[in-house]
Amino acid sequence: MTVRLRYFAAFREICQLDQETYCGQFKTVADLYELICKKYQFTLNMQQTRPAINDRFCAWDNALQENDLVVFIPPVAGG
């Protein structure tokens, strides 16, 4: 399956990418995060990160669909 990924803040600095298209073997957002963490050596675990699909927060066990836009959100610090 192929999905689109966008990166922000600490993740963007680590992988040096704003966005990319990713193709691989995964079903849920959690599966995808595991693959991406390995690829870029992200050290934040799933308790520290929140996933979003198509500009909305989602659960880690949400299934992904072809061409979904996925964002992994490191700890926020607004205000």
Binding site: R6, F8, A9, A10, Q48, P75, V76, A77, G78, G79
Partner: protein, 152 residues
């Protein structure tokens, strides 16, 4: 359409390029007895480090969606006449406005509670990140360093 517009006027979340400049209009509705405001300013120190400046970055699409949910929830839960919130993006210097919140309520009790609730929610739910630059030349994404050791 008209109702939708009214709801948007009563509860509004915005992102500002650069420091926030929220117009200071005190009156809102003849039923409002209290306007409670919170302005978050860039402080010259954080967690013992001397801050030089900082930079806010956002996932704008989701930040606007989540921020709008927060102000709408506040209007409903605290029976407010209106709630506004604007958050800065980009580079900010010491003393500049990072976030402004305005809440109009019938009584001061709900006003204070709602304003406090909104800033707490914005800080914990809205995908905005802060990169602090220190006077020693270093910088870091706040809360994103070493979180494996002590959580967030």
């Amino acid at each position: 359409m008209s109702l939708q517009n009214e709801a948007n006027t009563r509860a509004k979340f915005m992102l500002s390029q650069g420091p926030v400049h929220l117009e200071y209009q005190h009156s809102c509705s003849p039923e409002s007895g209290a306007l409670v405001s919170f302005d978050g300013l860039v402080r010259n120190n954080n967690e013992g480090k001397d801050v030089l400046r900082l930079e806010y970055s956002a996932y704008a699409e989701l930040a606007l969606h989540e921020g709008s949910l927060i102000v709408k929830e506040a209007v409903d839960c605290f029976a407010l006449q209106a709630a506004l919130c604007s958050h800065a993006l980009g580079v900010l210097e010491i003393g500049q406005l990072a976030v402004s919140i305005r809440v109009w309520a019938s009584h001061r009790g709900e006003g204070f509670e709602a304003c406090r609730w909104i800033i707490d929610q914005v800080k914990s739910r809205v995908p905005i990140w802060k990169k602090e630059s220190y006077t020693d030349g270093t910088c870091e994404w706040v809360l994103c360093q070493h979180v494996g050791h002590h959580g967030h």
